[in-house]
Amino acid sequence: MNKVRTLEFDEAIDDALGQAMAANPRVMVIGEDVGMIRHNLLVRFGRERIKSAPISESAFVGAGVTAAMAGLRPVVEVMIVDFIGVAMDAILNHAAKIKSFSGGKWNVPMVVRAACGGGYGDGGQHEQSLWGWLAHIPGLTVVVPSTPADAGGLMLAAIESDDPVIFLEHKLLSPSWLDFMGRGGRSTVEFDVPPTGTMGECPKKWQPLAIGKAACRREGEDLTLVSVGVGVHRCLEAAQELAKQRISASVLDLRSVVPLDKDILYEQILKTKRLIVVDEDYQGFGLSGEVAAVALESGLKFSFARVCTKQTIPFTRHLEDQVLPNTQRICAASIALMQN
């Protein structure tokens, strides 16, 4: 029996990463500031395997691609996903394409790990989600966990994957990132942190969690709320509120944007006939449209709404709160859909 313990979200990721590093000397961490941010792993594995990089994203992500092709299993940290813009060529034109261009003869077992998401007032150059933007590129796997147990299991699966995986960790779920970027040691600010996501039971020994399997977090009859990351917790809060108004909502946690678990999605739509996608990433040309499209392609008949981010995220907390999906917006969209 695998013993259980309670870990924080980011602790779980580093713990699984540590297990993978202990098991396989080819696994190493490269990235900005990892000497400080991953200091616990640094004192266990040394500077050769926890390798601090200069602020040169295009170089060290690009190097991660060929290091992976040549036998290493790099976990490359770009600090926050917004900075991936600087390294986009390595991801868009190389990591994602090598396998296809080589006729399937060469692969890129690289993990790109980045913090993502907003809700702490830092603005749209530091708070984007971008999973839909990355998922748009064939050849990339994009995982977005919402609980500590999933985060650890998915990190292990990402490292074991023979193809490039983007691993996105929401800052509101990761106490160390939230402290690094938003709180900075002060006790004078508060954020809307979903407690069910930051702390949770984890196995003593990690097993990889199959990538591409969504989890139904709540069963309902009237409508299905679909999301990833912090959005899942907002949906669960909304579902509780909606229950008071006798609306019964399912909450589906996709866990990965690519691959998209279509089967469980179809099942839920078939049952509830109403679908709402809650996506902290941008609304246009993203996850919400994709989910609607695959469901329509399958021939299902359903009514649809979405609660997403439509504009550049302002840094101010009260403006940001209006822009990011929140429980009130989800409830309002749900009620409107029920009345349709």
């Binding site: 004192v43 594995f45 040394g46 994203e57 007032g121 830092d122 603005g123 150059q125 530091h126 040691g185």
Partner: protein, 344 residues
Amino acid sequence: MQPDLWSLYRLMLYSRRFEEAVAALWHAGHISGEMHLGIGEEAIVAAVVSQLEDQDAMALDHRGTPPLLMRGVDPVRLLLEFLGHPDGLCGGHGGHMHLFSVKHLSASSGIVGASGPSAVGFALAAQHLRPGSVAVAFFGEGALNQGMLMESMNLAAAWHLPVLFVCKDNEWAITTKSATVTGGNLMNRAGSFGMKTMAVDGSDIEACWQSAWEALCQTRDNGEPVYLHASCIHLEGHFLGDQLIRTSRHPVKEMRKMTGPLMRSFAKMHGSNVRKRMGGLRHILATIQNIRTQMSIKRDPVVILRQKLHGEELQLKLLEDKIDTEIEQVLEACGLADVKVNDE
């Protein structure tokens, strides 16, 4: 040419006091997100900005507050911006990392190195539309490892553009000691693009002013890029609440939080050998030790300039009191009259 030390002291001290007020507001929870201050780099910024002309442009990094204040942006609108007020410089949307002033042809970015391409574009527009004007790029030494800044230097050199590249070298790339992730010599690196390069002590305002004067003349008159490298300190670390600074200021409290998990991980089964583990531990201790030397006020440009003006105590007191009053008025205009400055 000789600098007017009194007007420079005014610019530098005003910026310092303004940012100290910002720090107090941030600590009190009035300002969200991160907060990167320019405390410690006021001399090189004042030296350059005080010699700019009306049509010159500025490409700023994540420490845009001092250059904008010194350029003449309304401090009330700047502070309102940090507070997220609709009357702020950018309507409360941008905050301190994303400051823009059309009137001052000034644009900032939170992406390290982005001021390079921005300055090149400003200079290209200057060449066509505002001949005789220049563009300044402010950035840190960490940005010199960013490809886009290297590419911008080449572009400015190849296209003969009037860009002044100003490196404020505080020796730290976020929480990583730059020397540990940088190859070669930065002066040589910039010089290899064929630009004139100059190095200056960023704590010495007279030297900074002289270098900035020469650099600006060169780029304005010849329409060629110049690289100016100033060694600075950053007394508040990368940003407010910087873990290294916190650990350095409150070692017992901060190390207590850090030590348990650190030692447990150090002793954990399965990992590297003891020598490598010790190497990791030594690296962390050395990093914390290194930041302590950065926090010394011996190289504080504001303190050093004040010492130079020593002897004129009455005039100093009048100026300093006046600045304190002005900052109080700014706070009052922002509805924050009761906020105590220097109160962490």
